[in-house]
């Protein structure tokens, strides 16, 4: 069980131009937890996620994924455990047809062609896109691209799923489908999003980030319904709660 723990200890990161993006981040995610990462643009969400996948290495502090400390040498190993779904599906779907995109990961894992085929079909089935197997990615709708992008990651059978703004640009129905999909995944999930309603729906736990620091870490129910806390961090209540919640006079 412990091999699925994500642990960050006092992580600092600065960009080459000097901007300090992460200023001492510490938290721990255990197996099966789903955590929402919330904050304004520029708060450091994406930077944090990129650190989790080894694309950026912390200047100070430690990250360990399943007991493996993150470093330049262990990057590859970490990437086998952590499935990263990027913000824009177009960046993630770079092969000529969907099948090849989903097969890309398994092939790189060194699996036999039969196994690869199995993984591809299962992953596409999981996201409901098996019929799109032979389509070129530029002929997919935004929602379909999203789902296929997730499939490309799922085909690698990662232990931990990290997603950056999975719901952006989706029409209401696709968004609903995505939420249902995510709720069905039993993996450890870390999801950065502006869509507070989605976080509320999908993640039991929530971390609020502001200016590269964690300002709150607790259950989504508690944090995301705390209007004061949200406003302090330049956020708002989830839309679905904005009219139901009765304002209490101070």
């Amino acid at each position: 069980m412990s091999h699925h723990i994500v642990e960050l200890k006092d992580v600092f990161y600065s960009y080459p131009d000097g901007t300090e993006a992460l200023k001492g981040i510490s938290f721990r995610v255990i197996h099966g937890e789903s955590v929402g990462l919330v904050g304004t643009n520029g708060a450091g969400k994406t930077t944090l996620l990129l650190n989790l996948n080894g694309h950026l290495i912390p200047a100070r502090g430690e990250i360990s994924i399943g007991e493996v400390p993150l470093s330049k040498g262990t990057r590859q190993e970490i990437r086998r455990k952590v499935g990263f779904v990027f913000q824009r599906p177009d960046d993630q779907l770079f092969m000529p047809i969907v099948y090849e995109d989903v097969a890309f990961g398994p092939i790189n894992l060194g699996l036999s062609m039969e196994k690869v085929d199995e993984r591809v079909n299962n992953a596409l089935e999981m996201v409901g896109c098996l019929h799109l197997k032979n389509r070129p990615p530029h002929r997919l709708s935004e929602g379909q691209k999203r789902s296929v992008a997730i499939a490309t990651v799922m085909a690698m059978k990662p232990d931990i799923l990290v997603m950056d703004e999975p719901g952006s640009n989706l029409d209401p129905k696709s968004r609903r489908q995505l939420i249902n999909l995510l709720k069905g995944f039993k993996h450890t999930k870390i999801i950065a999003s502006h869509d507070l309603d989605m976080i509320l729906d999908v993640c039991e736990r929530c971390i609020i980030i502001k200016d590269g620091k964690i300002v709150a870490d607790g259950s989504s129910e508690e944090l995301l319904l705390n209007e004061t806390l949200l406003e302090e961090n330049n956020l708002e209540l989830p839309l679905s709660r904005q009219y139901l919640y009765v304002k209490r006079p101070f």
Binding site: H55, D91, T152
Partner: protein, 269 residues
Amino acid sequence: MTFDLEFFNLGYLDTLSNKDTLVHRIDPRIKIIVSFIFILFVVSFQKYQISSLMPFFLYPVFLLTAGDIPFKAIAKKVIVVSPFALFIGIFNPIFDTNVILTPFGIPVSGGWLSFFSIIIKFVLTVSTAILLIAVTSFPGICEALERMKVPKIFVIQLLFLYRYLFVLLDEALRMVRAREARSFGSRGKEIRTFIRLISVLLIRSVERAERIYRAMLSRGFRGEIRVLRRLHLRYFDIVFAAVSITMFYILRNYDAVDLIGATLNRLLR
């Protein structure tokens, strides 16, 4: 042609290439080789030959009809790219005024003959090129190239180009539209604005390439990309190639047109 039209044209040909007809199913390698040989035969004709070129229209016509490709679309494209060839060709009648034929007493100079020869060759070769992509998917062509020993790194990068072509055209289109909305006449279209636009597009493209690279790394990329093998040569493909090439050879070296004409002549006498 305006941006919009070119963009949709590209998409249109791309859609056509994904159809499923007899011609579409022929192995891309065969189509490439046969088309190439076709072009070689066509351009090997002498400069004054016109009539013997005519039978060669069979090939593009075959591709068009059996491939279910709309004629108008192809015709439009051929016309659009004709300026350069026409421009060079039109000098022939100017410089070559040696009269070679006088049908019905009208003198026709060699220059005009060679001009028409150029036009016909042009239509034949250009339509074949467009039809090739119209009946063959681009990834299919790329795999064919790789199987024909074209360096893999070149083919892979071709595939990437194709993949992101529409994405980038879309981005550029949006920028052009934004510029349109704020320009009046030719103001706003000056080279300075253009440089800014292109530079921004360039930076965005590089950033996109960086993100793609990251996505590749995330899925275990370590330098090798496998192009999946999906092409299978069928009996039909080989027969098609043999028949076509033989036909081209016969039509090039034995004047069928002449034969038909002479026979007709004899019959009518």
